[in-house]
Amino acid sequence: MEPHAGSSLSSLRLSRLDAVDFRNLARITLVPGARFTVLHGANGQGKTNVLEAIAVGCSGKSFRTSRLPELLRTGTTKAILRLRINDGTEERVQDACIGSGSRQLRIDGKRPASLAAYALRSPVVTFHPGVLEISQGPGQPRRQLLDRLALHNDASLEEALLGHAKAQRSRLKLLTDRGPLGRELDVYEELIVRHGMRLFDARFRICAEFLPLAEALHARLALNAEPLRLAYTPRESSPAAFMDHLAERRALDRVRGMSSVGAQRDDVDIFLGERAARTHGSQGQHRTIALALKLAEVEFTARLRHVRPLVLLDDVSSELDRARTAQLFEHLSREASQVFLTTTRADLIVTPEDLKEGDREDLEVRAGELLRRGS
């Protein structure tokens, strides 16, 4: 797949966000720029909270917590988000009402069939400083990236993700409580294999297109540098071998108190030239790989959903040098995604020069309020 081959796609546009009692935002209305919204201000003012509100409104989930009560403004019991969104063909209103133990989601007043069904409608890609570690640390963020894309491709995969995790936890509980024998163990291992094989298969199919795309983007970002090579090989090759591995590792997993077999062990191997990037890459090289992977996620999400996702950049410029920040903006501008970013230094955010009136909106966030320039 060629980068930018699908530039005729329309872009998701958020035209208005209302938030009530979300984190430190008592009541805000955000009218974003058509292309860029720059949220600036001192630390701890609520800039990231605004991005989080957009993410929760679009996907029902936060990128920084899985605990709903954290999202409620201290002393309140309900947070309300309303987003006005246009995907190029229709305008819709998405409502997310968060209680301490529940969330109510609505699209044009109608209840979606599930959380996954809601999240499919308005795709969002988030960059935050932690993302820049994606090529260095443990495999979890790399797996999560693949799974996010796989879910956009096939939302029913959620069943395999949750099922695999629960079956693994159940197996471990059986091992610790009752030892390495028993029909129940066989049964939960059969379920691990059933859900795990589905995950391997889904990740494999995503990688076949996504990895070459990320490699191509990397070649554009790092002109004369060693080529990036990404490789995914599912941990288990067949259901029978998978079953055998689980059975073989019962005693060991019991002692360790964790599962050493399954889809949670998957990874994407990253090479620069012939060498493993994890051990040999420089800081700068890792940042470029992370950029390539995230830009590929934006592009690939657009392909899968037939609409360009919203892009949320949280404090990214503080971690990227000037040259890479410029590259990032150049790519995002060409992609025409609507971008929301936070920074403590608005003057460092250089957007393309050919922007039209209303394309860029700069807002200061101060103590949970949005202030327009001069107000």
Partner: protein, 202 residues
């Protein structure tokens, strides 16, 4: 002013599913408004309930007690039912759902729970031995597993399959898919995915 007996009843009512404090209070005020016989009849029926209805000793479905002794339920007693086919469900409401539909002509077995290592529920709590004994004693030829399509529901189904493996009893699983008359548009992705995975040749 607080009325202690009213609050006591209110607290009891809120133990019921879907009844919060406000709803409980509404119920109480309604009963007070009506003729006193409503309150007395309700009370009498409720207090007699545990003596009148219990779990069927064979299948676990609701059964009427006579003379305080546990009896077989109406389904186990119904001789027109096909004795060779047994439908295994998790809960009593599942039996009621099948019975409302009326399409199943065999008998039931209510597990009361699902396999769940995380909650400490194993084959013993499920009463697997009781089902095996029933199959033997009643000449059952097919066991239809109608547990929910969750991880624990599937695990329960797989366990039953394994337990019956050498017995000559066929173990089948109900299909899962799109509700009749349901718009595909409003069906959740997981259900749609299952319906697709379980597709059949025409």
């Amino acid at each position: 002013m607080r009325i202690a007996s009213l609050e006591r009843l209110q607290r009891l009512l809120t133990k019921l599913p879907g009844v919060g404090e406000k709803t409980a209070l509404r119920y109480i005020l309604k009963v007070l408004e009506r003729d006193a016989s409503l309150a007395r009849d309700l009370g009498a029926e409720l207090s007699a309930l545990p003596d009148r209805i219990g779990a069927c000793v064979r299948c676990g479905h609701l059964a009427e007690k006579t003379g305080g002794d546990l009896q077989l339920c109406a389904i186990c007693n119904d001789t027109r039912r096909d004795p060779t086919i047994l439908c295994v469900v998790a809960r009593v409401p599942d039996v009621l759902a099948f019975e409302r539909a009326g399409s199943f002509r065999g008998r039931y077995h209510v597990l009361g729970c699902l396999l769940s290592p995380l909650d400490g529920i194993g084959p013993h709590e499920l009463g697997i031995d009781r089902i095996l004994a029933r199959a033997r004693d009643e000449g059952i030829r097919e066991v239809v597993v109608a547990t929910p399509p969750t991880v624990d529901g599937e695990a329960t189904a797989l366990l039953l399959k394994r337990e019956f493996e050498a017995s000559g009893v066929a173990v089948t699983r109900i299909a899962s898919g799109v509700p009749h008359g349901g718009d595909l548009e409003f069906t959740d992705p997981i259900t749609l995915g299952r319906a697709l995975a379980g597709r059949r040749a025409l």
